[in-house]
Subunit: 223 residues, 2 copies
């Protein structure tokens, strides 16, 4: 199996619970304009019908420009894909459907991301066939109000240690990550930074995304 | 398409939120022993991993004895089915994935049930290909504490009116239904009664199911 193409450098988690008072689809469109390379649609409290509608609307903006992933709901991903939406895969957590079961449902071409931050989670993952999971979301780097059930913050030191342990997987840093973090993230071995509030709560999401994208590129030279 | 075999006469909604202090799988096993003909596993607050585990464990008890359905999560149904569990289909509500999209994901052999109680919902359903949906869950007959978002109670009169309107679909009565209701349900045109607390909260689920089953059969003679 060849690696699935994936640019995780600026990864927007478009969380319906965080985006209030404006359209999630607008935020996605602006973030992609600003340079977001991957977008995950998360709506833990949404009905499946509402989440599907968001995913399909977002896909019109990400098509050919950014990777689009659906959080948790593999059925929503499959329904959107079956209708021709440009949706690329799913992101799952440790209590969602098991990664190998998801791979069986989505097939070889879909991207699967998994939240992981503990060595035992990595060990479990290594017992699965190679290629089951494409990248890891690792954190929380810092405490954050946007995800109530996140594990204890691990800091950049903890992130770096885990990323080294999980060397065969691209690792995206998540949890309270935002402006000013690109250099630390790259030094810690991150394949990208995943942000929620840094874009979703920004007054100008496109500008916020562009600034984060610039920081990331700039940090490459220095790292 | 031929009709999918389906006995809705005693339909247990095994709701993880209602069953506390004992095992949901035990309740399912006992209900099937007592004569439940269809079992739906509902766990709106469960993780997908936990729901999948419940469905697979329940399937060992329903196999060959009762129809097993998964509430809302089509992906959980698909994952269980892919692993060989005896799971027969899904039950979806009006805010879950649209019925025609679900049919596309599950294929022709799976059972799809849909909650409906309004004429406009029936009209929307009739615009879909015949065979998209196998039965309707119609209610709430009475107000019930087990489903916070249920529509206004419709009573047996409302149920009968809707069942007549939806004559091409078997209609299961749900919402506060239990002992003593079989005769009214059959007179109102119900294909079965769907119960939550009447079995899930019973001291002896097998006996409760057997009593409901007896009532249903007995009411046939009188109706």
């Amino acid at each position: 199996m060849t690696a699935r193409p994936l640019d995780l450098s600026l990864y927007l988690v478009a969380d319906a619970a965080t985006i209030t008072g404006r359209s999630l689809v607008d935020v996605v469109a602006q973030a992609v304009d600003g340079g977001a390379s991957t977008v995950q649609i998360r709506g833990k409290d949404l009905s499946a019908a509402d989440l599907l509608a968001l995913v399909e609307a977002a896909a019109a903006h990400t098509r050919g420009r950014a990777t689009l992933l659906v959080n948790d709901r593999v059925d929503v991903y499959l329904a959107a894909r079956a209708a021709g939406a440009a949706v690329d895969g799913v992101h799952i957590g440790q209590t969602d459907l098991p990664a190998d079961r998801v791979r069986g449902l989505v097939g070889d071409d879909a991207i699967i991301g998994l939240s992981a931050s503990l060595p035992r989670q990595l060990e479990a993952l290594r017992r699965l066939p190679a290629g089951t999971v494409d990248y890891l979301g690792v954190g929380a780097v810092r405490a954050t109000p946007t995800k109530k059930d996140h594990p204890t913050p691990i800091g950049w030191t903890g992130f770096a240690a885990f990323a080294e342990l999980a060397h065969e997987f691209p690792c995206v840093a998540i949890g309270g990550v935002g402006p000013g973090d690109a250099r630390d993230a790259r030094r810690a071995g991150a394949a990208g930074i995943a942000v929620v509030r840094a874009i979703c709560s920004a007054e100008f999401p496109a500008a916020a995304a562009a600034a984060l994208r610039f920081e990331w590129a700039d940090a490459e030279v220095v790292a």
